[in-house]
């Protein structure tokens, strides 16, 4: 047995009936002794007291196990890197400052050994996101059980990313750093470049007749029809206010990615309908004087203010801990179901895939995770089965295989 024999699953055959499970729908609803039915990859029924399953279906009695929508990992370099420190395995950062036409999807490696370690923790979809420069390109949402990137594509090029230059120097050296005019100037100059680019792109988009095609402008067309969103990666208040201003100026959908200090301006974000993909709650406070648990409770503050937000763990292998980031957000103020929503339905909404996934509702794809206990708590989270578009996926991975190999060596059971 090897990683190579973990095959992508074939399309769903028979109708599947999950019965006697605690169904966490992802939209806040919980069915304590619930059932869920899916056919041809789509959920056909969910709730308590459903009609008896038909005999030709597959009936799975969950005996009280927990059922969740597949967790979605936004802002991930999954499949774009295999060994972070080895340059040849890195495909997430292209040369140049403004590269909107670059597409992460085509570099997404479905054979990455990391992917299977995420699935076995309930992560079934990911937003494969490029980095580098200011506008590194577009991200796509993929489902994590595929032979190749074409099969994996769940929503293509749904977001353009803008990494805003930071007003603070990187925390690479300790000591005190002046918030220099230079940095503010650099910030103004760089954001100015992006603003100019978007202005020209918008103008370009107004006129159909042209002698030369500009691929960069073409790549952001859908921003102006709101078929695409602009994810602005930034963390500080001033940066976020500029991001909000971008939304107003260009009439586009802006999502803040990172948002460490978003709790300070939650009301502004709400007022302007700006969604936030919150960077990992498992972070240290931004400043020495911040509440020691500030990053843990930021999610609850956004929830309270009514901001649409989801959680991200960033990185690639790290994403397998995304459910626990939600668990922490729950320990510090979100209800457990709100915390679940923060890694499922809210993520789907922000990534524009909520029509087909993010919650366990009739008509949506059967992207389903079954766990023996609370998925958000490592103390009890053991994923026993998972389905992507109704296909039961293989939950094996390299780690389990090495576990077996060495249990064998030592004669352990």
């Amino acid at each position: 047995m090897a990683q190579e024999t973990i095959y992508p699953a074939p399309p769903q055959g028979k109708t599947v009936y999950l019965i006697n499970g605690v169904i966490h729908a992802g939209n806040g609803q919980v069915f304590q002794t619930g059932s869920l039915v899916f056919t041809n990859g789509k959920i056909t029924a969910v709730g308590n007291n459903l009609p008896a399953p038909s005999a030709d279906g597959i009936i799975i009695d969950l005996h009280g196990k927990h059922v969740y929508p597949g967790v979605i990992a936004p802002l991930s370099s999954l499949g774009l890197t295999e060994v972070e420190a080895v340059r040849s395995t890195n495909d997430f950062s292209e040369v140049g400052e403004i590269n909107p036409s670059v597409r992460s999807l085509v570099a997404y490696n479905t054979d990455s050994k990391v992917i299977n370690t995420l699935r076995s923790n309930g992560i079934l979809l990911a937003q494969v996101t490029p980095e580098g420069g200011m506008i590194p390109g577009s991200s796509s949402v993929v489902q994590l059980d595929a032979w190749n990137w074409e099969d994996a594509a769940y929503k293509k090029d749904g977001a353009i990313h803008f990494y805003m230059p930071s007003l603070l120097p990187p925390p690479s050296l300790p000591g005190r750093f002046p918030i220099t005019k230079d940095r503010a100037e650099e910030f103004a100059e760089k954001t100015g470049k992006v603003r100019a680019f978007l202005s020209e792109a918008k103008a370009y988009y107004q006129e159909d007749k042209r002698s030369e095609v500009n691929l960069k402008f073409e790549a952001v067309r859908k921003l102006f029809t709101k078929e695409q969103k602009l994810f602005i990666h930034c963390n500080l208040v001033k940066e976020m206010l500029v991001a909000v201003d971008f939304a107003k100026e260009f009439g586009i959908d802006v999502v803040i990615a990172g948002g460490a200090d978003s709790w300070i301006i939650a009301d502004v974000l709400k007022q302007n309908n700006i969604a936030v993909v919150l960077g990992q709650p498992h972070s240290l406070p931004v400043t020495a004087d911040d509440d020691v648990d500030q990053p843990y409770k930021t999610a609850a503050q956004l929830q309270q203010a009514g901001v649409l937000f989801c959680l991200s763990n960033e990185g690639f292998w790290q994403q397998r801990n995304l459910p626990f980031e939600a668990g922490t957000a729950s320990a510090y103020g979100l209800s457990k179901e709100e915390a679940l929503t923060a890694v499922t339905l809210n993520a789907a909404k922000i990534l524009g895939v909520d029509k087909t996934t993010g919650s366990l509702e009739t008509g949506k794809d059967a992207n389903i995770v079954i766990s023996t206990g609370d998925l958000l708590d490592m103390r009890s989270s053991v994923v026993t089965q998972a389905f992507i578009q109704g296909r039961e996926i293989n939950l094996d991975n390299k780690h389990k295989q090495l576990y077996e190999r060495y249990k064998h060596k030592y004669g352990l059971k």
């Binding site: 925390p171 690479s172 300790p174 004087d289 292998w317 103390r379």
Partner: protein, 1005 residues
């Protein structure tokens, strides 16, 4: 004759005139320097009479005489005025000894900072040419006297604020050679040298050295310690060494006053500790934040040189920028001027230095500020004069006004610290330097002005300051005019009626009256004279100062610090679920009594007695979490990665008690952390186990009596795989080479141990010998099975045991070998994929090792994750089906065993230290929070108190922000809001900034 034209005024005027005529210096001895022209030897005998003479901080003589000759003081007090003395009337004036600055680089060449570091090619040996030592930062051979030359411009600016003598040295390197005591006379270099070698200087900053070693603060400390030993050894002139001029100079300089520059209050203690080890009492050039730890400063028994460069208020107008300024920086702004007063109060000897001031002109204002914040004037004067002179044993020459000493003194208009006082003259070696002429003659008062023809009389009033008086014409409508006095010449101008033409007069301020000519309003020539009628009625006024309002000190100096350090008290935790980690297992509804910092009793319904009762109902009590692999609370470099073997460096030397991560980790239930050197080299530095006694100083943080450990590392970091293409020179570059580094080091250690008397004591090998003798224990950073196996073989060959493999992500592949060897493991729960050597890391690692029989701990290597080690432990339930109690031990009892402290901590057992955590929920659940974290029976983190602290931070920040806004409004110059960044380390981090730190600790701010 009017009062104005007294002989006093006439004489003092004479003095002004003579000043300009003086030339040369006063020394009669034959000189080697030939004279071009006619010899002009003068003795320069002066008598300053009727002065208020402040001989020193405690002796003031009124109406006294100072006599000087040949650049030295002849008499002070009521000695006879020699016939050949030029007599200067100093009635109303004050004479002070001029100031002495011990921390100057006056007249020495500018030092270029090293541009070296991680991005340059490695440099293993000193680039200094000549028969000097191996390390470029040890420059004991530098003799400031040989590089010194008079610098007229700088001398003038120092004289203008009152300095007469400075101790100057080349401020470059860790050992900086000797300082030269010079006066600030504008004379030939030969004449101004008072003491050629007056001091020896040290710092922790390698300065212009381009050599890699040392790259960290702990490396600097180790280098100093080793050099002390080397110098001692060199006294016997060991043949093998040849001539080492650096060590020779080091030894020669040993009897001089030793001055150490500290960059921080903790540096002062670090320096003092080195001094204690080698029988040296350093004079410490302080950094300015020592007031935050006065008892520790007292304990050094050192004298201090205090800087006066108080921070400017921070411009906090932009709230979003101000957010990044820490409360500790704001508080430091407010409290920095209390430093000298705090030293005086604690009876710590100190002097002042102007070094560090952006503009030396701020000197007296800064001293006045210190006085405003509680320093006595007497002490302030002492700190500028006699105290520094005494510290370098030059008080026979300078520092006070005594016969025989250098004629270095100041003539002022009043008491020196009065803000209206004018410094007129600064005499250096008997030579006058005029600082300010204006106001020497105080002309203020009422005059009768007579203008002819016509004999018209006017009454004019000169008021304002003595230096720049203003003129008013006194009549029905008082009219403003101007008066300018330039030496003997005066000019006056004023209108006779409002808006009318001006009467313009000029002439001479003569001995008896002012006279001259002018033009009247109609343009006709007139003659005039003015006679003094009455002195100014109002004396100089100083606006009364109210005592400054200042906030409290915090321990540590951080928003979450204590206002008063907590005291131990007996505690009874009632009715909790107690996870004992002992054979009793998990006990429901159980009480734990803590007495004198120890667990006294475990049982049901225990009587409280005098103990503070904490209700544990519905809560869980566990032993405190022990993080076996941590890099928090470390100052200026976690890696001394500049050489492959640096067993001489010690984390113990650089523990930083101010790190807020101590508090943050307490909030996650951590009570002890093993602070490790990084993984940049094969044999890294010695580690330090601390208890998280928030508020304690570095020594008190240390886990007393714990066995010493050392960090080793294998694999990609030590072979510099991920350090970029330039780092391809340091041996080893492969895992093959790593084995050789180890084998070589232990072979040398074994030979060293066997070597007899007279051997050079080698701190690096001392530590390795301790390992060979089972007195020091290894924590080895390691990943892949081949290297683990290799180290086990090396250890077996040299008959020592590898205590702990850390990271050990492939430990599961060789768990049987580890068990056989007796090695334990400290690992991550689920990290992998970030570099090549972690490709086979699995989250079942801890489980497999544990099931094979290895003692396993889960650790952090990360300041954030350390706050959730209970959750990381819980992942082993998820991945490896570990029981909850076994999982908890991964972060409590097991690391205690790895660190050999399981007799004191790690479980809840009577007699053990009361290092406890009260959790809101099952401690292995992600929903659990530490409500209270207790170390030695003291509650260091309390979730309720934490809420109060947040309030306090917010209030205190707001108070200081408002205060600083007020300063800005008043026009006080401000500094830009600067983001206060924390010092944060991982040993694994491959970010650029972190890598830079691997070899370039010096570039830190």
């Amino acid at each position: 004759m009017s009062k104005f034209f007294s002989s006093r005024k006439r004489l003092s005027h004479l003095c002004l005139l003579l000043g300009g005529l003086l030339a040369g210096s006063y020394a009669r001895a034959q000189e080697t320097f030939p004279v071009n022209g006619v010899a002009d030897n003068r003795e320069g005998c002066y008598a300053f009479v009727k002065a208020t003479i402040v001989k020193n901080g405690s002796t003031v003589l009124n109406n006294a005489t100072l006599v000087i000759r040949n650049g030295r003081i002849v008499s002070v007090g009521n000695g006879p005025v020699p016939k050949d003395a030029v007599v200067i009337d100093c009635g109303g004036k004050y004479i002070y000894p001029s100031f002495v600055d011990l921390y100057s680089d006056y007249g020495t060449p500018a030092v270029k900072k090293s541009a070296g570091g991680y991005r340059s090619d490695p440099q293993f040996l000193s680039a200094t040419k000549g028969a000097y030592g191996w390390n470029q930062a040890i420059k004991s051979e530098v003799n400031a006297a040989t590089v010194f030359t008079v610098d007229g411009t700088n001398a003038a600016s120092l004289r203008n604020v009152g300095f007469g003598t400075v101790l100057s040295h080349q401020q470059d390197g860790i050992a900086r050679g000797t300082g030269v005591l010079v006066t600030l006379a504008d004379d030939r270099d030969n004449k101004v040298l008072v003491k050629e070698k007056a001091s020896a200087h040290f710092s922790f900053d390698k300065g212009s050295s381009t050599q890699n070693y040392p790259s960290s603060l702990m490396g600097s400390i180790a280098l100093l310690r080793q050099t002390y030993l080397d110098a001692l050894w060199y006294q016997s002139r060991p043949a093998k060494e040849g001539t080492n001029l650096t060590l020779q100079a080091w030894n020669e300089n040993g009897n001089l006053p030793q001055i150490f520059e500290a960059q921080d209050k903790w540096d002062a203690l670090r320096a003092d500790k080195i001094g204690d080890e080698f029988g040296v009492q350093y004079i410490i050039r302080a950094s300015g934040n020592e007031y935050q730890r006065i008892p520790e400063m007292v304990a050094t028994k050192a004298s201090f040189i205090l800087p006066l460069n108080f921070p400017q208020p921070i411009d906090v107008e932009d709230p979003n920028d101000a957010r990044f300024v820490s409360l500790s920086d704001m508080k430091h702004w407010e409290l920095a001027p209390t430093e000298a007063a705090a030293f005086e109060k604690a009876n710590i000897p100190f002097c002042f230095t102007a070094s560090g001031l952006k503009d030396v002109k701020q000197l007296l204002a800064a001293v006045r500020r210190s006085i405003e914040y509680g320093l006595s004037e007497q002490k302030a004067l002492d700190a500028l004069t006699l105290a520094p002179a005494r510290l370098i044993k030059a008080d026979d020459q300078v520092g006070s006004l005594e016969p025989g000493k250098l004629a270095n003194f100041l003539v002022t208009s009043g008491t020196i610290f009065n803000e209206n006082t004018v410094l007129f003259q600064n005499w250096v070696q008997g030579k006058k330097y005029t600082v300010k002429d204006e106001g020497w003659k105080d002309v203020r008062g009422t005059y009768t002005l007579t203008v002819n023809p016509g004999n018209t009389k006017y009454t004019i009033l000169l008021k304002g300051s003595a230096a720049t008086p203003a003129l008013s014409l006194i009549q029905q409508d008082t009219l403003a005019g101007t008066v300018t006095i330039n030496g003997q010449l005066v000019k006056l101008a004023f209108p006779l009626k409002k808006g009318g033409e001006q009467l313009r007069l000029s002439g001479v301020a003569g001995a008896t009256e002012w006279t001259g000519t002018g033009l009247d309003t109609s343009g006709k020539w007139v003659k005039w004279s003015a006679a003094f009628t009455a002195a100014a009625t109002k004396p100089d006024t100083i606006k009364p100062k109210t005592a400054p309002q200042i906030g409290n000190l915090y321990f540590p100096f951080n928003g979450y610090g204590w206002e008063a350090l907590p005291k131990q008290q007996d505690v009874l935790i009632k009715n909790a679920t107690v996870w004992t980690n002992e054979k009793e297992g998990k006990l429901e509804s159980t009480d734990v009594l803590v007495r004198n910092g120890k667990i006294a009793q475990i049982g049901k319904n225990l009587p409280a007695g005098n103990a503070r009762v904490i209700d544990g109902t519905g809560k869980h009590l566990t032993a405190g979490i022990i993080d076996e692999h941590s890099h928090i609370a470390i100052s200026r470099g976690v890696n001394e990665g500049s050489q492959s073997v640096t067993s001489e460096v010690r984390i113990a030397d650089v523990v930083n008690p101010d790190d807020v991560n101590i508090y943050r980790q307490l909030s996650g239930g951590v009570t002890a952390s093993h602070l490790l050197h990084g993984s940049a080299n094969t044999i890294g530095g010695q580690s330090q186990l601390i208890k998280l006694r928030w508020g304690a100083d570095a020594e008190e943080l240390k886990f007393a009596g714990s066995d010493p450990f050392i960090k080793f590392a294998l694999g990609e970091n030590v072979k510099q795989s991920n350090w970029g293409d330039r780092q391809r020179e340091r041996f080893p570059q492969t895992r093959m080479g790593v084995e050789q580094v180890l084998t070589d080091a232990f072979t040398r250690a074994r030979d060293y141990e066997k070597a007899g008397a007279g051997k050079r004591r080698d701190l690096e090998l001392d530590a390795l010998v301790e390992i060979l003798n089972n007195k020091r224990f290894i924590t080895c950073h390691s990943y892949v099975q081949s290297e683990i196996n290799m180290l086990l073989h090396v250890a077996d060959t040299f008959h020592f045991r590898v205590n702990t493999f850390t990271h050990i992500l492939e430990g599961y592949k060789v768990a049987d070998k580890m068990k056989q060897h007796g090695a334990g493991a400290g690992t991550f729960a689920d990290w992998w994929a970030y570099k090549m050597e972690v490709q086979d890391a699995i989250p079942y690692n801890a489980t497999i090792m544990q099931r094979v029989g290895v003692n396993v701990a889960i650790n952090s290597d990360d300041a954030e994750m350390a706050r959730r080690l209970n959750q990381e432990a819980a992942k082993n339930i998820k991945y490896g089906d570990m029981t909850e109690e076994e999982a908890l031990k991964l972060v409590t009892l097991n690391p205690a065993k790895l660190l050999h402290v399981d007799a004191q901590v790690g479980s809840i057992k009577a007699g053990k230290d009361a290092d406890l955590v009260l959790w809101s929920d099952n401690p292995l659940s992600i929903y659990a929070k530490a409500d209270k974290t207790i170390v030695d029976g003291i509650v260091y983190f309390d979730r309720e108190k934490d809420l109060e602290l947040r309030q306090r931070i917010s209030k205190e920040r707001n108070r200081l922000v408002q205060k600083m806004l007020g300063e800005k409004k008043k026009g006080t110059p401000t500094q830009k809001a600067a983001a206060s960044m924390e010092e944060m380390y991982h040993c694994e981090d491959l970010q650029g900034g972190h890598q830079q730190r691997l070899t370039d600790g010096n570039s830190e701010l």
